[in-house]
């Protein structure tokens, strides 16, 4: 466990931090007692940074089994009067919305903050949803910082706001804030308080319909009060820009043009105005829900047209439009709805400049002249691949070989994790990837709908624990003829190796029971569970083939250690890897290895007498290519191969 000492620097120090680290510091400064998350890019490192500090500073930190659980743990603390925070990427908000929208009605007794990271441009997500809609849906205030300093300070403030309103509060960031670095000046650390006490009050906490109905007016009153509090939020600022330059002189400054910018788009706006020398009254809006009405009434005075700049969806824009109509303000509103700004993708200075160019006769973006455009046309994206030595490659290889030899086709329902890189050629091992845990239930649906081909679901251990368990139980109850293959490396790999219930420790470094997936599967009513080592491809293929025809759901656990972790261990133990060797005279250049495995340790030599495979230094010695080469041209001496630990099928445990 690595402690990030930067987060413990003294108040007043100026430190270079990622947005994620800045928020972690904000949580520490607020003295939160309970901190939870489920790993998800881009916000994973907030809890990754908090976990190793938890015991030292006296708070609790966990990567919970899934987002809903993470939120409910935090909510329990907040009802017991302990400050708590739940961190999630935007997709996790879909899961927490169920408890969140009811906790909004009960209210909280200590600050409950939800940090949600949206992913405009979809750097690492399967959609680009805007979680601010959930603020409006649940009457939960939304704060939007523009940089690392604000991210830290507003996170701390969010606890205070939550306590003032007795309502959960969202801090909404975007992936670019999470991963970018900012210089951040630190404040004082508040020691966390964890003396929870739950004061019973069924009328408030037992949300059956009659009791919940009675509390609805309280929630409405709270969100109305939030709008009033937001009037004096210190991060809402009106900035006057006179021909590109910030001015404090209100006289003789005059413009009919306004821009409302939220989040990290504000600096883009400043940069565009500076270069195009346009005058504007800019509102940097930190409280995007609920809107501060008086502030907006004052702001709109004298303005004839306003451009709204925000990431993802036109959430502020829709509210501003409604506000202007309600208040009888005559103003033209430009933004995403009239396509002045793009609604799809991540904003940047050029796109903001493009919006300004549509409204004024100015030019912001430097032109891409011919040589630059020609270069753009030459570029193709690199195809991401599973790591060299990744056991998932061996699992996919075995599945595809088993289906090929079976000659009845096959549908492979995929899930969320490293292994969804298996979609790319040449592995092309999955046919769907929808959301965490969808593979097994959708496989059942395909079976029940009459799909005749063999139906398989592939899911990792972390995802199975997250939401695969209920789906498998459902498949048992309805006797769905599906074959589930759990890719088990006993850790949440994709997001950077966060511990899960299979790992044997928690985020704070405490030892925990190593939950065996085979036991869980047995417990769900599937007696015939097979555990096979991923690199034992012959056995894995054979096991899959034999299972395909059996009725009901079958589970095979394909077990192998994450290649990145194995590499790290070897660096500590100074154990050397024996890389695969290519017998140049035997290799015919058939590329079967490449076409079947697509390992990033494969290079190619076309110089010399014959074309042949070259093994690159990133080879991890897994010897999968040794098993696959039809000419036996690749080798690793048997005694140097990484030994297979579980060679036999474990049946009927």
């Amino acid at each position: 466990m690595k402690v990030n000492k930067n987060l413990l620097r003294d108040a007043g120090e100026r430190v270079l931090l990622t947005g994620n680290e800045a928020i972690a510091r904000g949580i520490i400064e607020a003295g939160a007692g309970i901190t939870t998350a489920f790993p998800g890019t881009p916000s994973t490192q907030i809890l990754d940074n908090l976990g190793p500090l938890a015991h030292q500073l006296g708070f609790h930190a966990e990567h919970s089994v899934n987002e809903a659980v993470a939120f409910e743990v935090a909510a329990g603390a907040a009802l017991a009067g302990v400050r708590s925070v739940m961190v999630t990427k935007m997709l996790g908000v879909n899961l927490i919305s169920d408890p969140l929208l009811v906790i909004a009605i009960t209210g909280v007794n200590a600050g409950l903050v939800v940090v949600t990271a949206d992913d405009p441009g979809q750097h690492s997500s399967q959609n680009a949803e805007d979680t601010r809609y959930f603020g409006m849906l649940g009457k939960i205030p939304v704060l939007e910082p523009m940089d690392g300093q604000e991210a830290k300070d507003m996170t701390k403030y969010a606890f205070e706001l939550s306590e003032e309103l007795q309502l959960p509060v969202f801090v909404r960031i975007t992936s670019r804030i999470c991963h970018s670095y900012f210089d951040v000046t630190f404040g004082e650390i508040t020691p966390p308080k964890r003396e929870g006490h739950f004061e019973k009050d069924p009328k408030r906490y037992v949300m059956i319909s009659t009791l919940s109905r009675a509390r609805q007016p309280i929630l409405t009153e709270k969100i109305n009060r939030a709008a009033v509090i937001n009037e004096s939020n210190p991060w809402n600022k009106v900035i006057l820009i006179d021909k590109g330059e910030i001015t404090t002189k209100t006289n003789p400054f005059k413009t009919e043009f306004g821009i409302i910018a939220s989040g990290l788009t504000y600096p883009y706006v400043e940069e565009v105005l500076e270069k195009t020398k346009i005058s504007a009254k800019v509102l940097k809006l930190a409280t995007t829900y609920p809107l501060p009405k008086q502030l907006l009434n004052d702001y709109f005075k004298g303005l004839e047209k306003v451009l709204i700049v925000e990431e993802c969806e036109p959430v502020t824009e829709m509210q501003i439009r409604a506000f202007a109509q309600r208040e009888g303000i005559e103003v033209i509103i430009h933004g995403k709805e009239d396509q002045t700004m793009p609604r799809i993708g991540e904003l940047n200075p050029d796109l903001v400049g493009g919006g300004i160019e549509k409204l004024f006769k100015v030019k912001f973006s430097e032109e891409l002249t011919k040589p630059y455009l020609e270069v753009e046309a030459m570029l193709t994206k690199r195809v991401p691949a599973l790591c060299a030595g990744c056991p998932h490659r061996a699992s996919y290889y075995s599945i595809k070989e088993a289906l090929r030899k079976n000659k009845k086709g096959g549908v492979i329902l995929g899930d969320r994790g490293c292994y969804n890189q298996g979609v790319h050629e040449p592995i092309a091992g999955i046919d769907t990837c929808i959301c965490m845990g969808a593979s097994i239930a959708m496989a059942s649906g395909m079976y029940q709908s009459g799909v005749k081909e063999p139906i398989l679901a592939v899911i990792g251990d972390g995802t199975f624990l997250h939401s695969g368990i209920p789906s498998l139980l459902n498949a048992v109850q309805h006797r769905s003829k599906i074959t589930v293959i759990i890719f088990d490396n006993s850790i949440t790999g994709m997001t950077g190796h966060q511990p899960n219930a299979c790992t044997g420790r928690n985020l704070m470094g405490d030892p925990t029971p190593e939950v065996d997936l085979a036991d869980i599967v047995n417990g769900l009513g599937i007696e015939n569970v097979k555990v096979v080592e991923s690199f034992h491809t012959e056995l894995l293929q054979d096991t899959i083939t034999r299972h395909l025809e059996d009725d009901g759901p079958k589970v095979i656990i394909s077990r192998g250690e994450c290649a990145i972790l194995a590499g790290r261990e070897r660096r500590i133990t100074k154990e050397k890897v024996t890389r695969a060797r290519v017998a140049v005279e035997t290799c015919t250049g058939c590329k079967v290895c490449m076409k079947k495995l697509g390992c990033p340790a494969f290079g190619w030599s076309s110089s010399g007498e014959n074309e042949h495979l070259v093994i690159l230094p990133n080879c991890n010695g897994c010897a999968l290519c040794v098993q696959v080469c039809p000419k036996l041209a690749i080798s690793i001496p048997m005694e140097k191969q990484i030994p297979l630990k579980t060679k036999q099928v474990v049946a009927g445990r």
Partner: protein, 196 residues
């Protein structure tokens, strides 16, 4: 000043950017680093933007506003061309990483000569054999330090040579200080040889 640092996963793009940013902070400048990484570790494209002084505004740079490109890989250098001003300084580690996808024809890796000629057409290109020099200094891991040595020699940076070197030595494991210093000096020499 706008500096772009690019490469593929494993090149140390983010660490290099942090070193440069810390050195700039040590010289009293404001900085911003724009970064986003999803699949960095899996051989994908990695790029970060370092904005120093009066340019330290948004975390994303406008196109054609880059002053310096520090590229650990030729194709990745080409990918960032649209961010560069005409005649900007491009320091290139001329060691291509051709993924298995390109060997299979799933993506296209241009001829290295083509990449060099395209880069030279609009930019001031300096090729550095940084990977090879890093191996000579002790390990390929120090490729980025070789590149930083070359960058220090280029006199393009508003950061003093010793400030940069000391920042690097502060941020690397103590037992590697000597070899990192050597790597930095190899980078300096390589740049001077190119200029002569």
């Amino acid at each position: 000043m706008n500096i772009i640092i690019c490469g593929v996963g494993g090149n140390g793009v983010i660490l290099t950017t942090r070193i440069l940013a810390q050195a700039a902070i040590n010289e009293g400048f404001n900085v911003r680093i724009g970064a986003s990484h999803g699949l960095a570790i899996r051989g994908g494209t990695v790029v970060s933007y370092l904005r120093i002084g009066s340019d330290a505004k948004g975390v994303i740079m406008p196109q054609r506003s880059g002053d310096i490109l520090l590229a650990f890989e030729p194709l990745e250098a080409l990918r960032q061309m649209k961010l560069m001003k005409d005649n900007a300084k491009v320091l290139l580690n001329n060691e291509p990483y051709i993924g298995v996808d390109a060997h299979l024809g799933l993506s296209k890796y241009p001829e290295i000569e083509e990449i060099i000629s395209r880069l030279s057409e609009t930019q001031e290109l300096v090729e550095i054999e940084a990977s090879k020099l890093a191996i000579k200094a002790g390990s390929q891991v120090m490729t980025n330090v070789v590149m930083l040595g070359s960058l220090a020699s280029s006199k393009e940076l508003p950061i003093k040579r010793d400030t940069l070197l000391n920042t690097i030595l502060d941020m690397v494991p103590p037992q590697t200080v000597e070899s990192n210093k050597r790597a930095f000096e190899y980078g300096e020499q390589a740049f001077h040889e190119k200029q002569n």
